[in-house]
Structure formats: C-alpha cells, structure tokens
C-alpha cells in the first residue's frame, strides 16, 4: 500500500511540475498578500505578537486557496474513476495526504522566509521552537484539508465551500498554533509552549485517524 501511495504522490507531483496550476498561482498569492500587508503597515510599528497573527492569517488563506487542488483536480479532469480503478482508497488518501503535506510545507517555508525577510520588526526569540511549531502546524493543516478537499471535490461550489468547511475544523489547530508561535516569538522559555505542542500533536493524530476511517465513504460512490 505504501508503494501504491507513493506512486500516486509521485504522479501528482509530476503532474503539478508539468502543469504548474497550483504552484505559480500560490506563489503569486503569497507575494500579493504580503505586499498588501506591507503597504498597509508603512510607517507603523507593530509588535512581533501582532505580526504572528498576520503570519497565520497569510498561512491560513494560502492553504485555503491551494490545498483543495489535490482532489478537485481529479474531479475536474474527470479522472476520479480512473484512480478508483487503479488503487485502494487507503493508498489514494495516503498519496494525496503526502502531496498536500509537501505542498503545505513548501508553501509555509516560503511564506515564513519571505515574512522574515520583509518584516524587519518580526524577531523570533526561539527559532527552534518556532520552526517546530511551523512544522506541526503544516502537518495539521495538511491532514485536515486533505479530507475536507475530498469532500468538497464532490460538491458543486467547491471553491467557496472549502474555507467554510475547513475553518471550524481547523480552529483548534489555529488557536494552539498561534499561541505557540507567540511564545516562540516573545518568550525565551521553551517549556511554556508544551501544552500547545501537546495539543497540536494530538490534533494531528485525531484528524488523520478519523480521515483514514472515513475516506472510504467519501471516495466510493
């Protein structure tokens, strides 16, 4: 099953690299969003805490605009049935999850690097904690959006429905993530973030497990 999943992941990656539907648009989205933030902040001095909130807003909306592609693309091209004939639901889910994971990690790394470059006021006291939180947050976003994307791929108004369904499910992750990031940015003590990290980790496990159990129903007609 792992080999199957990896083959599907490789297929999505090759397809994406060939067509560049998502990547180009997403990179531009990030650049444009950051540009808007910078425009609106000219001359303002904001604390790192407030900028943390902005960072997460950018990450959330970037995820909302790009991560539904994995399943929506199959549905739009009409290849859902082809994939159903090729692999087990488990393998499909795992493959798509891997692809989402790669996409979201790459995206968030890009966002954070750009954010650090452009926002001079944004300083991180604990870089190791900061990157740990970014990684866990990315994992959680990928896990939650993969199953939601599979659901909305079957609906009519895919684009608008995606953030609507994702937001309540992602909210625990966002709250814990933002809080942990603030600690990484403002406080010098790693230990303060343990509850948040614990919460993030258990969120990832819960969402992934539930998704694995339910994907069969979503995938098969």
């Amino acid at each position: 099953m792992l080999r199957q999943a990896f083959a599907i992941f490789a297929k999505d990656l090759a397809s994406e690299l060939r067509t560049r539907y998502a990547i180009n648009a997403l990179l531009m989205f990030v650049v444009v969003t950051l540009a808007v933030i910078m425009f609106s902040l000219v001359g303002e001095t904001l604390s790192s805490g407030a900028l943390t909130g902005m960072l997460w807003v950018v990450m959330f909306f970037a995820a909302m605009s790009g991560l539904s592609r994995s399943f929506v693309a199959e549905e739009e091209r009409g290849t859902t049935m082809t994939l159903q004939l090729l692999a087990t639901p488990m393998a499909v889910y795992l493959g798509k999850l891997l692809f989402n994971l790669l996409l979201v990690v790459a995206l968030n790394v890009f966002i954070v690097l750009l954010f650090l470059l452009t926002m001079d006021q944004f300083t991180v006291l604990q870089p190791d904690l900061f990157w740990t939180v970014m990684l866990l947050g990315s994992l959680g976003i990928a896990a939650a959006t993969a199953i939601i994307a599979a659901i909305i791929a079957r609906a009519n108004t895919k684009g608008t429905l995606f953030p609507v369904l994702s937001f309540p499910v992602l909210l625990p992750l966002l709250m814990a993530g933002i809080s942990a990031t603030k600690i990484a940015v403002e406080e010098p003590v790693w230990d303060n973030a343990w509850p948040e990290l614990q919460m993030l980790a258990s969120y990832i496990v819960v969402v992934t497990t539930v998704s694995f159990l339910l994907f069969d129903f979503v995938w098969k007609d």
Binding site: S179, P195, Q198, M199, Y203, V206
Partner: protein, 135 residues
C-alpha cells in the same frame, strides 16, 4: 473491517483526552499587571476591586477610577472611559481590557464578573449593615 473502526476509535479517544489535558497547563487568555506593564500592549487583566481604596467618578472627563488587585496581589490604579460599570459594587472579580500608560492602567472596557451561582448569598458574605443589627 470492524476491527479497523474499533482501533481507530480507541486512538481518537485517547488522543482527544491527551489534547484535552493540554488545556490544564495553559492559561494564556489573561495577563497579569506585571506582564501588562512590561509589554505595554493591550491585554486583559483579571483581578478584584480593592474596596478599601477610593473610587472616583470624574464627571468632566466621564472617567471612572478604581484600584484593582490582580492574581499576583499587585495593586494598580485603573481608569475607565465611561461611568461606573454595571454591577460593579457586587462583582466578585473584574476583567479590565486596556494598557499601561504612565503608571495607570487605562481600560477601554471593564467587565464585571458576578457570583453566577444561582443560590442565595451565603451567610458569611452578607453585608455589614445587616450583620451589625442581627441578634
């Protein structure tokens, strides 16, 4: 097939508990006065109104001043824009939203927290007047 759902259910339950336990250690919503002064940011501070110290309503500026003691027993002067809040006299604790300015906590809003226990007031807490005259 059945087994899969059983195992999945157990994993979910266990990690929901672990996730839930994480809340036990975190209380990030409210700051203390010390923190408020250090950061100079707009925060929520929860504490009690110090009844022994004076309160004052300034009619010209429409501000209300009182002293508040936070969880770390630090006392600060609080000035609110506006009149005395609802239920201020009987609040068990207050939440002040605002920031430190020149040694004074300037609050944009003060919320009063009342004993919402839905019971009559216990004997020990009853006000002075009645107590003095009781037989």
């Amino acid at each position: 097939m059945k087994k899969r759902y059983l195992i999945g259910g157990v994993i979910v339950a266990v990690f929901l508990v672990i996730g839930g336990l994480s809340f036990l250690n975190s209380s990030v919503e409210y700051a203390t006065l010390d923190k408020a002064e250090q950061s100079g940011k707009k925060v929520q501070v929860t504490g009690k109104w110090v009844q022994d110290m004076s309160t004052h309503y300034d009619t010209d500026n429409n501000t209300f001043m009182f002293y508040m003691r936070d969880e770390e027993d630090r006392i600060a002067k609080v000035v609110i824009d506006g009149p005395k809040p609802n239920n201020f006299d009987i609040a068990t604790s207050v939440v002040a939203k605002g920031r430190y300015e020149d040694g004074v906590f300037r609050a944009s809003e003060v919320l009063t927290k009342c004993p919402s226990k839905y019971e009559g007031q216990p004997e020990s807490e009853h006000p002075d007047g009645i107590q003095k005259s009781s037989l």
